[in-house]
């Protein structure tokens, strides 16, 4: 059985004297009927797809609507030319989040993590570390188990669907998962991982799902960047010993409740938020005409 609370997940690691990653892996084996080898093999495959998506990014490609594509390349060029803040890692995290999310909009192959709309967050924070040798493949896969464990708890207590919980359930959840993964990679304790996840989700509480023309493009692609950058900041805080006043399970419960309080207009229907702005509406009308 997957864990129904972070508390339970942390306790399993503590009592069995195993890492958080190991606890998540073991809990899934019983349920999925996979062998440990199959599970690890699948995780490695997911990581390889994340790498391939980034590698195969084509700066010239545009989505069918013309709303997405080419932005990651702009960020990379600007950084090379010295026109960016925050150093190499921040520039790379930004570019990688855009790359994967743009690939998704352009109908290329991605890993839903936890959803297609939020697929850029986890690879964005991990790919730059792998590239400079700060984390090897084994360490990355361990971190992905930690991320998945927090994702499972969010799915159990709240939701991972934008249609049910808004963007906080997609990019918010992805950000919490990425924050926990980063924290684990740097040797953070399970408690610190939970604090990182709690902060990341807490920071994005209330984020609405308001796709222009109903497409996974505007504002989804750029929200992946915010999820990734937020994850980095929250992992840094947790690793520094910064505490979060609200426990992770309670933050997740709050996210679920906020989601159900959101008007349906703000839950993936493309009727509210940025989708309902004059420009958002104009874009939707133009696309409908072109399709008709």
């Amino acid at each position: 059985m997957s864990f129904l609370s972070c508390e339970e997940m942390l306790a399993a690691a503590r009592t069995q004297k195993i890492s958080l990653a190991e606890a998540v892996l073991r809990s899934d084996l019983a349920e999925s009927r996979l062998t440990e080898e199959q599970s690890r093999h699948t995780m490695r495959h997911l990581w390889h797809v994340m790498e391939a998506t980034s590698r195969e990014y084509d700066p010239a490609q545009r989505s069918r609507s013309g709303l997405s594509g080419g932005d990651a390349a702009k960020v990379e060029q600007a950084h090379k030319a010295g026109r960016s803040y925050g150093g190499d890692y921040l520039a790379e995290v930004t570019a990688e989040a855009l790359k994967t999310a743009e690939c998704n909009a352009c109908m290329k192959r991605i890993v839903a993590a936890p959803t297609a709309g939020s697929c850029g967050v986890l690879p964005a924070v991990l790919l730059p570390l792998a590239r400079v040798g700060e984390a090897d493949e084994d360490a990355i896969c361990e971190a992905l188990y930690v991320a998945a464990g927090f994702g499972q708890v969010i799915a159990a207590r709240a939701t991972l669907a934008g249609a049910e919980g808004g963007c906080q359930a997609e990019v918010g959840a992805a950000s919490a998962m990425a924050a926990a993964a980063l924290c684990h990679l740097k040797g953070g304790t399970p408690e610190q991982c939970a604090a990182a996840a709690a902060m990341a989700l807490g920071n994005l509480l209330g984020l609405v799902c308001d796709p222009v023309a109903g497409l996974v493009e505007v504002p989804c692609v750029k929200r992946n960047v915010v999820g990734a950058v937020n994850a980095v900041a929250c992992a840094n805080m947790a690793l520094a010993g910064v505490d979060y006043a609200i426990p992770c399970d309670e933050v997740i419960d709050a996210m679920g409740r906020v989601g159900s309080l959101l008007s349906p207009d703000l839950r993936e229907t493309g009727q509210g938020g940025l989708a309902a702005t004059p420009t958002g509406v104009r874009i939707a009308e133009r696309l409908a005409e072109n399709d008709g």
Partner: protein, 227 residues
């Protein structure tokens, strides 16, 4: 939710429900037909009809019908592939009295003349539920090897089918029995733990009282897809 439902699936974007789920619906329908369709009528309901185009729902369904899996990079080019492989298709919105908002209604014909109609919904995260087969209610996800049997609604039919499975040491994971609203026939949907061999399908098909046998083997490699 299982670990690899939270991380994963690997899929062609942009939407797990509108693209990956749609591809899986097409793929499952093609497997159930048992052959490449030469004609496909594709009805889209709800959100599939209204925002499907921008999500590539149409191309994903056609890709699935051609036997491409949801992570096949050729998915966006499925219309051209369909033309090359001689599959004619028509995509149009449909009105249903009720249904999950992401529902597709497919009517397929194979080159051998076999016909299949299927209604299925994309229920999130790339997962699907088949809700109707040939006009009879059903409920399965297409993640297990599945055997669907149309039979005359007479005593003993179910026992004969399960006995045949037992003889080949095939364990049944779940079983549903439905009676058609009109007429005197019933449908069994059996999700099995192991591969359903072709000879068994042939054997069942000629048993008295059995009208049609449809089989979905999810563990089957592409090359050995059988008629």
């Amino acid at each position: 939710m299982r670990l690899f439902d939270v991380l994963g699936p690997v899929m062609i974007g942009p939407s797990s429900s509108h693209t990956a789920g749609a591809a899986k619906i097409g793929y499952t329908a093609q497997k159930l037909l048992g052959d490449l369709p030469v004609e496909a009528d594709i009805g889209l309901y709800g959100s599939f009809a209204t925002t499907g185009k921008g999500h590539g729902t149409d191309r994903a369904l056609v890709a699935g019908l051609l036997g491409l899996r949801p992570d096949d990079p050729r998915l966006p080019d499925s219309f051209a592939l369909a033309q090359q492989q001689g599959m004619k298709f028509r995509i149009h919105p449909v009105e249903l009295r009720s249904g999950h908002p992401n529902t597709a209604v497919l009517t397929l014909k194979s080159r051998t003349g076999r016909v299949l109609s299927m209604k299925a919904a994309s229920v999130g995260g790339g997962r699907i539920r088949v809700t109707e087969i040939d006009g009879v209610p059903a409920d399965f996800g297409g993640d297990s090897n599945t055997l669907i049997i149309h039979n005359e609604d007479t005593p003993g039919c179910i026992a004969e089918v399960t006995a045949s499975l037992a003889m080949r040491r095939i364990n049944i994971a779940s079983m549903q029995v439905f009676r058609a609203g009109t007429g005197s026939y019933a449908v069994m949907v059996l999700e099995c733990d192991s591969h359903i061999p072709h000879p068994l399908v042939q054997q069942l098909a000629v048993m008295p009282g059995i009208l049609k046998v449809t089989c979905l083997n999810v563990d089957e490699p592409e090359e050995s897809a059988e008629e």
